[in-house]
Amino acid sequence: MRTTDAGAQPPTLEARGLVKDFHLRSGMRTTVLHAVKDVSFTLEAGRTLALVGESGSGKSTIARMLMKLENPTRGQILLDGRPTGRGGWARAAYRSEVQMVFQDPFASLNPFHTIMHHLERPLRIHHPGLSGTRVRERALELLERVRLSPAESFIDRRPHELSGGQRQRVAIARALAPGARFIVADEPVSMLDVSIRLGVLNLLADLQREDRLGVLYITHDLATARHFSDEIMVLYKGDVVERGPADQVILDPKHEYTRTLLAAAPEPENLGRLRDEVRAELAAG
């Protein structure tokens, strides 16, 4: 594993011993669902950590805790080594550093408002001193940064006038607006058409390099997890069952569950193999 350069405390977002239990009530009985069991990791500036697992494995619960949309049952979230508070002000300050890109760009943008409105809000909330013209300038800059140019032609449109990929770019611009250093991307491309997915991921990678963003990339797609991330954590039923450098986890999986996941991923090289397997199985009775 690479080491960060010596000197000052590098910018980090650390999850330490995160636990989340949900209490489920059915009639008089209460059962406890351990959604996340003791998960720790550190996001570093300029690096991407991928969180993979099937639905129900706790990926999104971790994202929600990291965004302080959900309070952890136990454990801490530390920004640059300092504990982060839960109160209103502390949370607002935290969110100017940590932002999220949601899965569904068709649902995460408000159809009633223009693109300008979506970018203006975070800018005004997190930079209260900016004048109206400055806010518009900044919004235009953000749109140019996510390759929606000419920005002037996009800024006054509404979400329904944009394609899925363009909407997701707006969502990325919105996450960058407060000046965030850490981005939590929860399945950012799974709702997009296949031929534009890599474009959006490449954009995210470019922005990451420009701003030295720390990215938590949540996905169930192992192939993009491998190529897009430095490190991969495999989550199964709330537990991290395997973690390591991206290539190592994919090419040399240690845990049984990682192998199952890998075996389930489509592999065009295996063309015809499934058919032959099934035939052999049936022939054997």
């Binding site: 690479r2 350069d5 570093e44 300029g46 690096r47 991407t48 099937e54 639905s55 058409d193 296949v194 031929s195 997915r197 890599l198 474009g199 991921l201 490449n202 954009l203 990678a205 470019d206 990451q208 390099r209 030295r212 169930h220 192992l222 192939a223 993009t224 491998r226 190529h227 897009f228 430095d230 994919i250 090419l251 199952t260 996941l261 890998l262 075996a263 389930a264 991923a265 489509p266 592999e267 065009p268 295996n270 063309l271 015809g272 193999r273 499934l274 058919r275 099934v278 035939r279 199985e281 049936l282 022939a283 009775g285």
Partner: protein, 310 residues
């Protein structure tokens, strides 16, 4: 898990060796009659052979679902098939002109000869009646004389076939997991022993592990029962893995068609190549996907950057 049914089947149906067509579409054009009219499917010709899996690949809006609906005569206004012919070659040897069917004949044809597993199968079950009632519905419509006991036996057989306990017949859809609901949809599509099944994104909403289980199930049933499948999805790597032949669709046209191996190893059309390169290889090289700045400190990371986007 379903040895009960494995036993009496005679010989496994061999796909793609003797290419005998079961469904032929010639020059099909489907238009949405809105203002201005939209041609969703343009001059598509397609042949589906008995017992084969034909993959139909394409992105949203390319017309693949409209084409599937057209083949099954499920188009609703303003969609209209403006030209072309669709012929179904029945097991009995008779040819059925699908486009000319109407009224009772059409009702008898659908689901009996060609059945469909719909997109978003998670939501295509009726939430307020049991699975049993929904399966019985099929028999009530298509096999009016069937006794209650026969329906029950057949329904249990179907569930066993798709790997679900027969006891689940009494369940309501919300009591089942996503994978199980999908299996129920497949069981229903199998109910009348159709010769063609059209599957429209049957596994897109499911987890990879569950998805793999369902795909395997489909492949197994195909070998056993010998129906042909039109499998619609945007997941080209998966299609390559499971299909015998693949047709790639773009803007309502089939731009390339051929055996899965040829589509994978020697794609001819530019769009097929682009679609293939949209899926980075899991174990191989990065291909068109370039991610620079992989954690290396600032300056030296400024190597080749994101021009791989297109």
């Amino acid at each position: 898990m379903t040895d009960l049914i494995t036993a009496p089947v005679a010989e496994p149906v061999v796909a793609c060796v003797d290419a005998e067509p079961v469904l032929t579409a010639r020059h099909v054009t489907i238009e949405y009659e809105v203002d201005p009219p939209v041609q969703a499917v343009r001059d598509v010709s397609l042949t589906l052979n008995r017992g084969e899996i034909l993959g139909l690949a394409g992105e949203s809006g390319c017309g693949k679902t409209t084409l599937a609906y057209g083949l099954n005569r499920l188009l609703k206004a303003p969609a209209l098939m403006t030209s072309g012919e669709i012929v179904f070659h029945d097991r009995s040897g008779a040819d059925i002109d699908v486009a000319a069917l109407g009224g009772e004949a059409l009702r008898a044809f659908r689901w009996d000869k060609i059945s469909m597993v719909f997109q978003g199968a998670m939501n295509s079950l009726n939430p307020v009646i049991t699975i049993r009632a929904q399966i019985f519905d099929i028999f009530d419509t298509h096999r009016p004389g069937m006794s209650r006991r026969d329906k029950q036996t057949r329904a249990e057989e179907l569930l066993t076939l798709v790997g679900v306990e027969p006891a689940r017949l009494a369940s309501f859809p919300h009591e089942l997991s996503g994978g199980m609901r999908q299996r129920m949809m497949i069981a229903m599509a199998l109910a009348l022993d159709p010769q063609v099944m059209i599957m429209d994104e049957p596994t897109t909403a499911l987890d990879v592990v569950v998805q793999r289980g369902i795909i395997r199930e489909i492949m197994r049933l195909r070998e056993k029962l010998g129906f042909a499948v039109i499998f619609i999805t945007h997941d080209l790597p998966m299609l390559i893995e499971i299909s015998d032949r693949i047709a790639v669709m773009l803007d309502g046209r089939i731009v390339e068609q051929g055996p899965a191996e040829q589509i994978y190893r020697a794609p001819e059309h530019e769009y097929t190549r682009r679609l293939l390169s949209s899926f980075p290889s899991l174990r191989g090289q990065r291909g068109g996907f370039v991610r620079a700045g992989s954690g290396v400190m600032g300056a030296e990371a400024a190597g080749p950057t994101g021009e791989g986007s297109r």
